[in-house]
Amino acid sequence: MSIRGVLERLAVIVIGLLLWEAAIRYFKVSPLLFPSPIAVFDQLIRGIMSGVFFKHGLYTVGATVIGFVLGSLMGFVIGVLVSQFDVFNRLIYPYVVALQTVPKVALAPIIIVWFGFGIGSKVFMSMLICFFPVAVNTIEGLNSVRPEQIMLMRSYRATRWQIFRIVQLPSALPYIFAGLNIGIVLSIIGTIVGEFVGTTTGLGRVLLDYNYAFDIAGVFATLIVLSLIGVVLHAIVRAVHHRLVFWQRPGDHSLGV
């Protein structure tokens, strides 16, 4: 990005914050309803200095990343099985789709019952919620190969494994990464929901504590930390994406679920 571009973006943020602060002062908004940016900043610094955000953030990030990795792996494996073996396509896939229609957030209480108040239930929520976009995109990607391309490989007497390894898997990578890009953001949501329902640690817990204490500035500060975590995790996935799928031109395969 050019220096000018960076300055423009910063200017938007600064002006936004100034307008926010001005509006709070002008309309005399109660801090119980909506905090001023200065109060939010104050709580942010406090949370950082006291180590609260670090301790709970680490827990949330840990649960999110473990859940994301497990859920993505599971999505990938199921995607491969469904696309490669008709049996899985006919017998398993309809149930996978049916499962997806269950609102997973609503499962959080029962998952707490099954996996307890520890990190296990958060990991499971995060895993469950990122599984589907990865599975669907994997299937879509593996099936995106042109039939002539497969015919060409068959004309070399390629085995199924060779066709998969040389053509299908690399062809599917842009789609799989589209799924992962969505999955990582959903994983954070999954973890937070898990933390809402029952835990003593994690940013979801911190958020609830601030809320119960009517410390709305604290809630906002926590939201900022959560957003930053989301941005960083998403950026990591994107960086790996662009490194690995170097041949993908912008605008290709921007498939989402």
Binding site: R146, E148, M151, S155, Y156, R157, I166, V167, P170, V245
Partner: protein, 268 residues
């Protein structure tokens, strides 16, 4: 090679292909197609779109099971894909994540042939196609014409005696196509492969071929096989010769307007 005994490199005898369609109906794509192609001969099949000419190529390649008749390639009955055959489809079908050289090496990799030896051959083919400087480029950095040449190199790398070309230059603009035709003739003359070219361009067929087989609409049958008695080597200038025009017009009469009135898949 057995083919010398059989007298023909490719021999199709009364070949038919029927696809099953929905509701238990079936579509006859090809019927009673017989065609013999001699070793080193260049034969084109022209026909209207959807006449089953690509299906015929799929049968020769062993990619599609036939419903009637049989085909012998290099003396062997076709039952499965054979490494004696190199194929070029309409799209170049290059893998975007592999360089030009790596793309050409795909068949070598799949067939588990000695890489070093075939790498040398791949480089020679690139040199012959004027692509040496692009060996380490990616397909998306190449023009459409260059991509087709890479696809032809890939089909030639394992040195199969037979080359099957399914409208290889279909998507190219007319000028690039002329150029590719000349290139293909040059490559063919240097390698002396047995070639079947599927095309809907009468000019391309007449320019390149020793013989042209004219195919009807669905179900595809061979209406006539025409000897192209224009001496080689041929350049683009032969297209201006009266003999070229005569042959082209003779073929074109098969595709007069009334032929298309009843176009569409017949059901059997």
């Amino acid at each position: 090679m057995d083919a010398a005994i059989a007298g023909a490199m490719i021999e199709a005898v009364s070949v038919g292909k029927t696809y099953s369609a929905s509701k238990g109906r079936s579509v006859e794509a090809l019927t009673g197609v017989s065609l013999a192609v001699k070793d080193g001969e260049f034969v084109s099949i022209v026909g209207p779109s959807g006449c089953g000419k690509s299906t015929f190529l799929g049968l020769v390649a062993g990619l599609v099971p036939m419903s009637a008749g049989h085909i012998t390639v290099a003396g062997k009955r076709v039952t499965a894909p054979s490494t004696d055959v190199g194929i070029v489809f309409q799209g170049a079908l290059l893998l975007d994540w592999r360089t030009v050289l790596e793309n050409i090496m795909v068949p070598v990799e799949v067939m588990k042939l000695p890489r070093a030896e075939y790498r040398q051959r791949a480089l020679e083919l690139l040199d012959m196609s004027g692509l040496t400087d692009f060996a380490n480029h990616y397909p998306w950095q190449l023009s459409g014409g260059m991509q087709r040449r890479v696809a032809i190199c890939r089909a030639l790398v394992t040195n199969p005696p037979i080359l099957l070309l399914d409208e290889p230059f279909g998507a190219l603009d007319a000028m690039t196509r002329d150029y590719m035709n000349i290139e293909l003739m040059r490559i063919w003359q240097a390698n002396r492969k047995t070639v079947i070219l599927i095309t809907h361009s009468i000019q391309e067929a007449v320019l390149l071929s020793d013989r042209v087989a004219v195919m009807s609409t669905v179900p595809g049958r061979i209406l006539e096989v025409i000897d192209i008695d224009i001496p080689r080597p041929r350049g683009l200038e032969v297209t201006a010769q009266p003999r070229f025009g005569e042959i082209a017009n003779h073929i074109r009469q098969y595709f007069s307007a009334d032929m298309f009135i009843h176009k569409g898949a017949k059901t059997a």
